[in-house]
């Protein structure tokens, strides 16, 4: 039996699918905040979860089912030009800049997605690449450029990496 088949052998059927979807939902919701908004993320995730429940035979063998569900959520929910994200409340989040959210929302969608998935959701570049349907190197570029823009907008010192990407862009 191949390793792939070995991994698929536990657990089976509905139990495996249920566990997968239960685990996936909070990750999906979090991943979708910056494209579907605070409330819309849950609806979009539920769309994907509902699809996942009906297509377990396709989902279970996948290596990255959450990434696939992310794509399902994006295609099954309507895009929002500027997702509704609540402002930072300094009393609750003293370590977060109040300007972070508007700066994040000002980023182009691809950069915003990549920055959010990598840093807020802690997905690997490979996971993000698969979820967004882009190359890993492209993910790296989006993240670097997005972070550079955030730093600039919030008055943070640019990093060496930021400078490199700026030179690349200008060239």
């Amino acid at each position: 039996m191949s390793a792939d088949a070995t991994r698929r052998s536990e657990p089976t059927g509905n139990a495996a699918l249920e566990r997968l979807l239960i685990d996936a939902r909070p990750r999906l919701v979090r991943a979708l905040y910056t494209v579907r908004g605070h409330d819309g993320a849950r609806d979009a995730a539920d769309e994907a979860i509902a699809w996942g429940w009906e297509h377990g035979d396709r989902l279970l063998p996948m290596e990255n089912p959450v990434g696939y569900l992310y794509r399902v959520a994006l295609t099954r929910s309507s895009p929002r030009k500027r997702p509704d994200l609540p402002p930072v409340e300094p009393s609750r989040l003293p370590a977060v800049e109040p300007g972070l959210v508007p700066a994040l929302l000002d980023l182009p969608e691809r950069q915003r997605c990549a920055v959010w998935l990598v840093h807020a959701c802690e997905w690997t570049h490979a996971e993000v690449a698969e979820a967004l349907g882009i190359a890993r190197t492209t993910v790296g570029n989006h993240v670097a450029r997005g972070m550079a823009s955030l730093r600039a907008a919030l008055g943070h010192e640019p990093t060496t990496e930021d400078a490199t990407h700026r030179e690349d862009t200008e060239r």
């Binding site: 191949s2 390793a3 792939d4 070995t6 052998s9 536990e10 657990p11 089976t12 059927g13 139990a15 939902r25 909070p26 919701v29 979090r30 905040y33 849950r42 609806d43 539920d46 509902a50 429940w53 009906e54 297509h55 035979d57 396709r58 290596e63 990255n64 990434g67 794509r71 399902v72 994006l74 295609t75 099954r76 609540p86 930072v88 609750r92 989040l93 370590a95 977060v96 800049e97 972070l100 959210v101 994040l104 840093h119 807020a120 959701c121 802690e122 690997t124 570049h125 490979a126 996971e127 690449a129 698969e130 967004l132 349907g133 882009i134 890993r136 972070m147 955030l150 730093r151 919030l154």
Partner: protein, 566 residues
């Protein structure tokens, strides 16, 4: 300016969003199991669709047979329903849902004829206002056929909310018709989303009822003809019988399929680990501690849910194209571009159509339609194709400069069909792994000894989770594992070392730690999403190996149920 690194600020803000959203933290199976997605975005509809909603709503109020085909359906008279210039909807019990005024709420227990249908699964909810039940049809053998199921749910909802859902269903479906279910009027929604997705909605006295077949949609209509309203004692008795019903189906399947219950090949001995007491065991998947009888039951359960068993079963085959030398060096397939072509064939009616994104391009390859998924530059990253009973995926790993689109165009399906394999005239790649001779999935496959276990722990003070997975994996399979897992594992983080004829691998990141040794053939993985913890530290310092005799009583209450029931 705040000194906290921006990366950390993003994570803190995401944590806050998780903690403050509606239903935050409540991740119940019932949430996941909801059959139909909640559609609340009427504002998103186009102007034309919005008009259709208004027409449909009017039809609901006036029972206009022109707008909605009600067939022989005879609706109860609704004398209170008149013009609704403000959009308010009068409910059948006289409550004005626009004002949120509740009418009398009466739960009906709608049970199909137990001669034809049996409860096989029950999904309790945290709240008493929702309940979900799976019914299976009694097959020719006189026991429930677990491959033909209908899920039924009842939830307490306002008429306004129901009307919203029904109006959207009318917009998004091919046809809607009225139907009588027991003593309740309902609506059959056909072709919503896909041709197979017929479902039924009904509302009565503050409760919404919902039926949907897992596979064959016409089963819903068959079941509804059998439904009567019963009292709560009859309902509870039907639910209480679910374990017996499943056991009966499994027992019959074991007998019919000739599944052995003794003398099975034993699983390999694997080390078992636990975490210190501050960690609370959450769930365990360890089939290796099942008895022979339990393994037979599990195989029987799996077989009983297969479509059209035993004549035609789903087959999944994977064909790998890579550079010739990787035949001798499977580990290299983790770094050398390899193309994986997977074919899935089923005798069932599952909807195999792939999901397209705005970057997907329609393609026609090997006689099948589908999509090439591209990145922003138009580079093809994966291809999904489908036919009436077959699905083919083409993917390259690790992602690289390999031109997947060109390669896919070079594929030719063999004469026996897509699941029998492919040939390619693209000389950059050689077929290095041909699973064409692998048999179809059979119940015997489900009896294969478990070579892995996984367990998850949580801490009372944090919603994060730590999981440990141990797997017995020969070296060549570890190579495949690496190649297939590069979406979960950043290959750049895995350090593979060859020394004195042995190969070891390790990865150490905050969230993920991996150890592999070709001498023991053991792969151990620790993942942790608990802030402030390190997967490597947990793997190196915290896990404690315990004897199997101590492990079994400790984890059995948490282990995956043999028959998948609850």
């Amino acid at each position: 300016m705040i000194d906290t690194p921006l990366e950390e600020q993003l994570r803190l803000y995401a944590d806050e969003l998780d903690a403050t959203g509606p239903g935050a933290g409540a991740v119940a199976g019932s949430n996941v199991r909801r059959l139909r997605p909640r559609r609340t975005h009427l504002w998103l509809l186009s102007a034309a669709a919005a008009c259709a909603v208004l027409i449909a709503l009017a039809a609901l109020g006036n029972r206009d047979p022109v707008a909605v085909d009600t067939g022989d359906f005879v609706a109860e008279p609704s004398p209170d329903v008149g013009p609704r210039p403000t959009g308010a909807v009068k409910t059948v019990d006289g409550a004005d849902s626009a004002t949120g005024e509740p009418g009398e709420r009466v739960r009906r227990y709608l049970l199909p004829d137990p001669e034809n249908w049996a409860v096989v699964e029950y999904w309790p909810d945290d709240t008493p206002d929702r309940e979900q039940v799976d019914f299976a049809r009694i097959g020719e053998g006189g026991y429930p056929d677990l491959s033909f199921r209908i899920t039924s749910s009842a939830s307490e909802r306002s008429r306004e909310s129901f009307d919203d859902e029904l109006a959207e269903a009318i917009v998004f479906s091919d046809a809607v018709r009225g139907v009588r279910i027991g003593d309740v009027d309902g609506w059959v929604i056909e072709g919503a989303g896909s041709a197979e997705s017929t479902y039924v909605l009904a509302w009565a006295e503050g409760w919404v009822y919902h039926w949907q077949a897992h596979r064959k949609s016409d089963l819903v209509v068959e079941l509804l003809a059998d439904v009567t309203t019963v009292d709560v004692q009859q309902w509870q008795a039907a639910i209480a019988a679910r374990h017996d019903n499943v056991a009966e189906a499994v027992s019959a399947t074991i007998s019919e399929e000739g599944i052995p219950t003794t003398g099975l090949e034993p699983p390999p001995e694997l080390p078992r680990y636990i975490l210190p007491d501050r960690w609370q065991l959450e769930w365990v998947t360890d089939r290796g501690i099942f008895t022979d009888e339990q393994r037979a039951q599990e195989a029987g359960f799996g077989a009983s849910t297969m479509i059209d068993r035993p004549a035609a079963r789903a087959r999944i085959q994977t064909f790998e194209f890579s550079q010739e030398f990787t035949r001798e060096v499977p580990l290299a397939r983790g770094v050398v571009p390899s193309v994986y072509v997977s074919a899935f064939e089923t005798a069932g009616t599952a909807d195999l159509r792939p999901v397209a994104s705005h970057l997907s391009v329609p393609v026609s390859i090997v006689g099948l339609e589908g999509y090439a998924h591209t990145d922003a530059t138009g580079w093809v990253t994966s291809i999904e194709l489908y036919g009436p009973s077959v699905m083919v995926n083409v993917a390259v790993r690790p992602d690289s400069a390999a031109d997947l689109g060109e390669f896919a165009e070079s594929l030719v399906a063999r004469a026996g069909g897509h699941v029998d394999g492919f040939d390619s005239i693209d000389n950059r790649y050689t077929l290095v792994s041909d699973n064409v001779l692998a048999p179809a999935v059979t119940p015997d496959d489900l009896l294969a000894p478990a070579t892995t276990w996984t367990a998850s722990w949580r801490r009372a003070d944090d919603p994060g989770r730590t999981t440990i997975q141990v797997e017995k994996l020969p070296l060549d399979e570890f190579g495949f594992w690496l190649a297939f897992s590069n979406t979960q594992v950043d290959l750049a983080a895995v350090d593979v070392v060859e020394s004195e004829g042995a190969i070891t691998a390790r990865a150490d990141t905050a969230r993920f730690a991996l150890r592999y040794d070709s001498r023991t053939e053991l792969l151990t993985i620790v993942t942790s999403t608990v802030p402030g913890t390190s997967a490597t530290d947990i793997l190196e310092d915290e896990i404690v190996e315990i004897p199997l005799a101590d492990w079994i009583p400790l984890v059995t209450p948490y282990n995956t149920p043999v028959l998948g029931g609850r």
